[in-house]
Amino acid sequence: MSATGRNLPAAAGALPEVRQGQRPSVMRMRLAPGRRAGGPNGPGEDSGVEAEAARRERTQVFLARVAAGLGILVLWQACAATLAPGYIARPLGILGQVPAVFGDQSFWSAAGSTLLAVVEGLIIAVVIGTVIGLIMGRLRDVDRALRLYVDSFYAMPLVALVPLLTVWFGYTPLTRLVVVVIEAVLPIIFSVAEGARSLPAQFTDVARTYRAPWWRVWAGIVLPASLPYLLGGIDLAIGRALVGAVVAEFIASLNGLGYYILFNVRSFQENRAMLALVLLVVFALAVRGLVSLFVRRELPWYRAG
């Protein structure tokens, strides 16, 4: 684990996942069967036996997963039906609400509002975070001046800023966007700075030997070398961005999935609210999946570490 696996950075939140060359487990799940299935056309005479064993194991795991999933749903349904009041969410109720919710204009407008704000905020955070992170990683003086602030904001629960931000930006979507950007930008700054800092000195030495102009060193060496770290930062940022967006919607009563959940739970429509929650989870998993897909396809040298 050469360049990527050195000393854990102080702040790398959940970064160790990326650092140790492992992808988040979503990816491992999806990768594992494919890798094992490579057996049949691989070399070796007992590959047929191996493939057979692998196939049996895969079926076993699949069945166990289905059984676990069904078990959870049945238990939930049974508990809700016997112990809880009728308005509490339950699997069959949620299923029954699917057509109504998916045909509901307000659901899609809420979904579009939240998800667009999160995507927009992530893009802004990536730009700002990459610039600040690269500068902090390469220029020690700037790093020292900014470190205290970045460290403190990364350590604090940023949702605590939401009430203050509602005073500054009003009960408007702008507040949500600002919250999303602040939540997302910190892990990105942190990871990118870490990546830029851990760039081997030989690279920049060689560039200097060949009299490369400074902007080519930054754009051609420092930025690409920090790219995997940037993606690690985005992986951390997405969850935080969603939490920020939902809290902002709760407090400022903004149209969005968070408020859709709040509103429907309050009007005893928990099954509908649950579908909005499911959409939030699917979105988070999809973005993280895209990030690791990108790492796997475009940055294979990173995984090789």
Partner: protein, 259 residues
């Protein structure tokens, strides 16, 4: 005479200067922006500090801190215990782990704040709903870190232990627990941070008490000085907890097996 020692001293002073400039710019900016903006938007640092003083002397901040911390401590402690136990369990029982993995991953990706309205409808306001929120925020990092640690125990260690007919209890005491602890500590550090987010969010919506609800009340009254004071305290708490978490992590990382 510019020997290596003189150069080292110079870079030391330069580093200190960097930190000092950072702090000074921040303090001056806070003061100036505060002086030149409306009181409900931003207040100078000095006003913030006097707000902090009155919040402490009238008892509202100490009360909020006590209320917040009882929730936080119980929630995080539960998350660490349950997370460590289930993490080891999942690591040692492969089929169980594989069966539940997709659901755990989905839950880990769930923005837990979105569960607060459901909890409110199910069990109402009070101490335990808030504890549950803190638990939900901090459980998964502990579980995942522990599981990863226990899963990565070198098989040779277990083989050697078995070869010497080590009892199951001794294997746990001398192999599994020492091997897993450093990983657990990484999870604990993350849990400490996430638990704080859970605590503040829970107090926004589930409480009459605690730092979160103090902030909400102040924002409704446009009491920016008080809000900044409480935010400052929350930041300080976050920084202290992170330092504690990192100290634990570093302490145990010393005997983390590196290959």
């Amino acid at each position: 005479m510019t020997g290596p020692r003189a150069r080292a001293a110079l870079s030391h002073w330069r580093a200190l200067l960097g930190y000092a400039v950072g702090i000074a710019v921040g303090v001056v900016a806070w003061q100036l922006i505060g002086l030149h903006s409306a009181n409900f938007v931003f207040v100078p640092l000095t006003t913030t500090l006097s707000s902090l003083g009155s919040l402490i002397s009238n008892g509202s901040l100490p009360n909020a801190l006590a209320s917040s911390f009882s929730v936080y401590a119980v929630g995080v402690a539960l998350a660490i215990v349950v997370g460590a136990v289930t993490g080891v369990l999942f690591a040692r029982r492969a089929l169980l782990r594989k069966a539940f993995e997709p659901y755990l991953v989905a839950l880990y990706a769930t923005p837990m704040v979105a569960l607060i309205p459901f909890l409110l409808a199910l069990i109402g306001y009070g101490f335990w709903p808030k504890v549950i929120v803190v638990f939900l925020f901090s459980y998964f990092p502990v579980e995942f870190a522990t599981q990863r640690g226990a899963q990565s125990i070198a098989p040779e260690l277990l083989d050697v232990a078995r070869a010497f007919r080590t009892s199951e209890r001794q294997i746990w005491r001398h192999v599994v627990i020492p091997y897993t602890l450093p990983y657990l500590m990484t999870g604990v550090r993350q849990a400490l941070a996430r638990g704080l987010v859970g605590m503040i969010s829970a107090e926004f919506f589930l409480s009459a008490g605690g730092l979160g609800s103090l902030l909400i009340t102040q924002s409704e009254q446009f009491d920016t000085g008080d809000m900044l004071a409480v935010t400052l305290i929350i930041t300080l708490i976050g920084v202290i907890l992170m330092a504690i978490g990192r100290t634990f992590e570093r302490r145990f990382a010393r005997w983390r097996v590196t290959s």
